[in-house]
C-alpha cells in the first residue's frame, strides 16, 4: 500500500484543532505538528517512503508551547510499542529547550532549530540572518491558510483592531516562506501583511531541512 493511500490528510481546520491519527502501518513514525502534515506527506509521497507513518498533534499547540511537551510525551508513550523508531518533527517551538530535553529523555530524535520557520529556510541560514531580521513576522503556507485561527482571532484583532499596534508596532515586514508555488496563497499572504500593517516579502523555501530529515529516516 502506498503512503498516499495509508495517510488520509484532513482539512486544515482539523489539523489545527485535532491533528492527524497515525495509520498504524510502517516501522517508522513521524510525530509532527499539524502545521507540517501536508509538507511531510508531500515528502513521503515524492520519495516513496512507504515505511514512514505520520501522526500529528493539533497545530494550535503552536500558540500554547507549554502544552507541547506533555502532548508529545503522551503520544510517544502511547505509540512507541507499535514502531521501531519515532522521529519528532518539531522545532523548539517556544518551549525554551524543554522539548529537546523531553526528546532526550524519551530517546527520540527531533528536528534541530527553533521553529519550522528556521528549518524550512534552512536552520543555519535562518539563524545567520536572525540578527538582521528580527523585525520580521513569518508565515508558512499552513499559517497563511490558517491566519485567522492562529493570529487574528487569538490575538483578539477581530474584536479589538486597535490592539494591532500593540502587537505588531515593532515589526516591519511579513516574510511569507512559501513551501509551494501557489499564486492564490501568495495573494492571501499579501493580504495578511496588509491586515497587520507590514510590508510584504515572499521567500520561496520549499521544504528546506524538513525534506532532508524525513528522507534519511
Amino acid at each position: 500500500m502506498t503512503a498516499e493511500n495509508r495517510i488520509d490528510l484532513p482539512g486544515d481546520s482539523r489539523l489545527t484543532h485535532e491533528g492527524l491519527s497515525a495509520s498504524g502501518e510502517g516501522p517508522v513514525l513521524v510525530l509532527a505538528c499539524g502545521a507540517l502534515a501536508r509538507e511531510i506527506l508531500a515528502v513521503i509521497r515524492a520519495n516513496g517512503l512507504s515505511h514512514i507513518d505520520l501522526q500529528c498533534l493539533p497545530a494550535i499547540l503552536h500558540n500554547h508551547p507549554e502544552k507541547i511537551v506533555p502532548a508529545v510525551e503522551t503520544a510517544v508513550a502511547k505509540m512507541r510499542g507499535q514502531y521501531q523508531k519515532i522521529f519528532l518533527a518539531y522545532g523548539d517551538c517556544g518551549t525554551g529547550g524543554l522539548l529537546e530535553a523531553a526528546a532526550g529523555r524519551l530517546g527520540i530524535e527531533m528536528m534541530p532549530g527553533p521553529h519550522c520557520y528556521a528549518f524550512f529556510e534552512g536552520t543555519e541560514e535562518f539563524l545567520d540572518r536572525a540578527g538582521d531580521e528580527f523585525t520580521a513576522f513569518y508565515l508558512t503556507d499552513f499559517l497563511v491558510r490558517q491566519f485567522d485561527a492562529f493570529v487574528w482571532k487569538p490575538l483578539g484583532l477581530d474584536r479589538y483592531p486597535d490592539l494591532r499596534e500593540t502587537y505588531f508596532g515593532n515589526y516591519e515586514k511579513l516574510v511569507y516562506q512559501a513551501q509551494t508555488d501557489d499564486p492564490a496563497l501568495t495573494k492571501a499572504a499579501e493580504d495578511c501583511a496588509r491586515r497587520l500593517g507590514l510590508t510584504f516579502e515572499r521567500r520561496f523555501t520549499g521544504y528546506g531541512d524538513l525534506a532532508a530529515e524525513i528522507r534519511r529516516l
Binding site: G96, L163, T166, Y171
Partner: protein, 233 residues
C-alpha cells in the same frame, strides 16, 4: 463584568466606586477609569490610595483571572491600557505627595528581541507597586543595560525575551556583570514565554518571573531581603 450602562460614577459612594473601577478595569474601559480616578482625587483620596486600592486592586483580579485561564491576552492588554490612563493622572501626583518608593528598576527586552508586551505589563505593575522604572525599550545590547544601571543607580535589572533564539543573551549580560564585578550590586529578574525557573537559575539570575504579578512580589521580596542584609551588615 457589570452592566454599567446607566451608572453615573459620581453618584457612587467611595466603596461602590472602587468596586466599579475594578469592573471597569476588567472590561478595559479607559475613559471610565480616568473619570473615576479624578472623582476619587476630588474626594481627597491620596493618589497612592487611589493607585493601590482602585487600580492595583483591580489589576490583581485581572492578573489572577489571566493566570487561571479565565481572561486572555487581548483582554489583559485592554485592562492594562485602562490602568495606564489612570496611572497617567496619578504619576505626577504620587511624587508630589511622597508616596512610598520601593526601588528603581531598569528594564528592557534583550538584543534581537522586539516583543515588549510582557515587559510593558511588568513595567506598569511595578510602577503601580511603587517602583521607579527606567524602560530601555526593545533590542538592548549589554552595554545599554549596564550603562543604565550605573547612571540610574538602579536596584533591579529586568530582562525580557520571547524567543528561544534571543533568551541566551540574558546570560551574556549577567556574565558581563560578573566580569565587571558588579553582579551582586543588582537584583536580576528575567521573564518571557519560553523561559522557566531552571533557565533563570542556569544563567545566574536571581529569579525567573512567570508573569507581572510574580515579578512585583519577587521584586518586593528581594528588595526587602537586600535591605535586611544591608542592615545586618
Amino acid at each position: 463584568m457589570a452592566d454599567d450602562e446607566d451608572i453615573i460614577l459620581s453618584d457612587l459612594d467611595d466603596g461602590e466606586l472602587v468596586l466599579q473601577m475594578h469592573d471597569d478595569l476588567y472590561d478595559g474601559l479607559k475613559e471610565e477609569i480616568e473619570e473615576s480616578v479624578n472623582i476619587l482625587l476630588e474626594r481627597d483620596w491620596a493618589p497612592y490610595r487611589v493607585l493601590t486600592e482602585a487600580l492595583v486592586g483591580g489589576m490583581k483580579i485581572v492578573g489572577d483571572d489571566f493566570r487561571d485561564g479565565i481572561l486572555f491576552v487581548p483582554e489583559v492588554l485592554l485592562a492594562a491600557n485602562a490602568m495606564k490612563g489612570g496611572m497617567a493622572i496619578l504619576k505626577p501626583l504620587l511624587a508630589e505627595t511622597g508616596a512610598p518608593r520601593m526601588g528603581k528598576m531598569v528594564i528592557g527586552t534583550v538584543k534581537g528581541d522586539i516583543h515588549d508586551i510582557g515587559k510593558n505589563l511588568v513595567s506598569m505593575m511595578m510602577e503601580g507597586a511603587g517602583f521607579d522604572i527606567v524602560d530601555l525599550g526593545i533590542n538592548n545590547a549589554v552595554d545599554k543595560y549596564i550603562d543604565a544601571l550605573k547612571a540610574e543607580d538602579a536596584d533591579i535589572l529586568g530582562m525580557s525575551a520571547l524567543l528561544t533564539t534571543t533568551m541566551p543573551y540574558m546570560k551574556v549580560v549577567i556574565d558581563t556583570m560578573i566580569q565587571m564585578g558588579i553582579r551582586d550590586d543588582y537584583i536580576v529578574l528575567v521573564g518571557g514565554a519560553p523561559l522557566n525557573e531552571e533557565f533563570g537559575k542556569a544563567i545566574g539570575a536571581d529569579a525567573y518571573c512567570r508573569d507581572a504579578a510574580v515579578a512585583v512580589e519577587t521584586a518586593k521580596d528581594l528588595i526587602a531581603r537586600k535591605h535586611n542584609h544591608m542592615a545586618a551588615a
